[in-house]
């Protein structure tokens, strides 16, 4: 029991220091501003670490970018201006949401193309199977035979 407590205490201390390693405290006047800062950081991508946003990344470049977002926010820039300033330096890569233009239209349009194509294929399959299977594929004699086989329980007495 005591051993467990020591381990727990050690873990707790470790967790505390791990958090203290990234001391970044950006001060905001209102909660709305703070939320805006978080949203901006979440939709900007770190150019160094490729698949992290700048809020999650510990790379120095992400810190610089967060600082830039903060400084621009404090000077009254709009979200578009802030994202634009970073795109001008680092390219479209830093945006998780690429703009809809001639280069990205296939990317944006593909889900619709895929769903529409899928519907067409399903419709085609259904229509074709209906055409090939008219109401009954058996002739009257065959049907009579089936009936006989089903009602006659003793297979040995089958004609």
């Amino acid at each position: 029991m005591r051993f467990m407590l020591i381990i727990l205490a050690a873990l707790w201390v470790f967790a505390a220091t791990a958090q203290a390693e990234a001391p970044e405290f950006y001060d905001f006047d209102t909660q709305v501003e703070e939320q805006r800062f978080r949203n901006l950081n979440a939709e900007l991508r770190c150019p160094k670490c490729q698949n992290q946003n700048i809020a999650d990344s510990n790379a120095p470049i992400s810190k610089d970018m967060r600082d830039q977002v903060y400084v621009m926010m404090q000077s009254g820039a709009t979200d578009d201006e802030i994202v634009g300033a970073l795109v001008d330096r680092f390219g479209e890569f830093v945006k998780y949401k690429p703009p809809v233009d001639s280069r990205t239209i296939v990317l944006w349009g593909f889900p619709f193309i895929a769903v529409f194509g899928g519907l067409l294929i399903v419709a085609g399959v259904v229509l074709r199977s209906r055409k090939q299977n008219p109401e009954s594929a058996l002739s009257p004699e065959e049907q009579a035979r089936v009936k006989r086989m089903l009602t006659d329980k003793d297979p040995s007495s089958r004609s």
Partner: protein
Amino acid sequence: MKRLTLFLPLVLALAVGLFLAAGIGKDPTELESALIGKPVPEFSLENLREPDQTLDQSLFHGQVSLLNVWAEWCPACWDEHEDLMWLANEKGVRIIGLNYKDQRENAFRFLGRLGDPYQTIIFDPRGSLGFDLGVYGAPETFVIDAEGIVRYRHVGVVNERVWEEILLPVINRAEGNS
């Protein structure tokens, strides 16, 4: 008609295969600079060797140069330095250094040990010009033409192969145009 549709999976597989094959060998960590075709951002920073002298973007006017972003703390910069020395001494390339987020003493120690290929070195301890240039990992090397326009950005070390295959053609084109 029916027989043709049987080839559909093959066609699809070929299309996907070609698309995927095009991606092989491409380094996803190398991004094209957003500044290509644009002038070097305005800056006003100290000369590393002469602290009283302030440098600005006019440094790049008049002649094609390489702008090499380096720092003493950057391991890959140690690797590429010999090749930069070779470019400066053997090929007569004008290399401007951008000492990025470094300390003066460390920078001098680095140059003292490995040699100094730079015509001029911009001292950017806070990385402000680096940020404006979109530098996300040293070393990076920019080709800048005689009008001060960014023509190319190479991320990673410069070596003989990078020079022959990538940088030299860009420099020749930049020199041809201006």
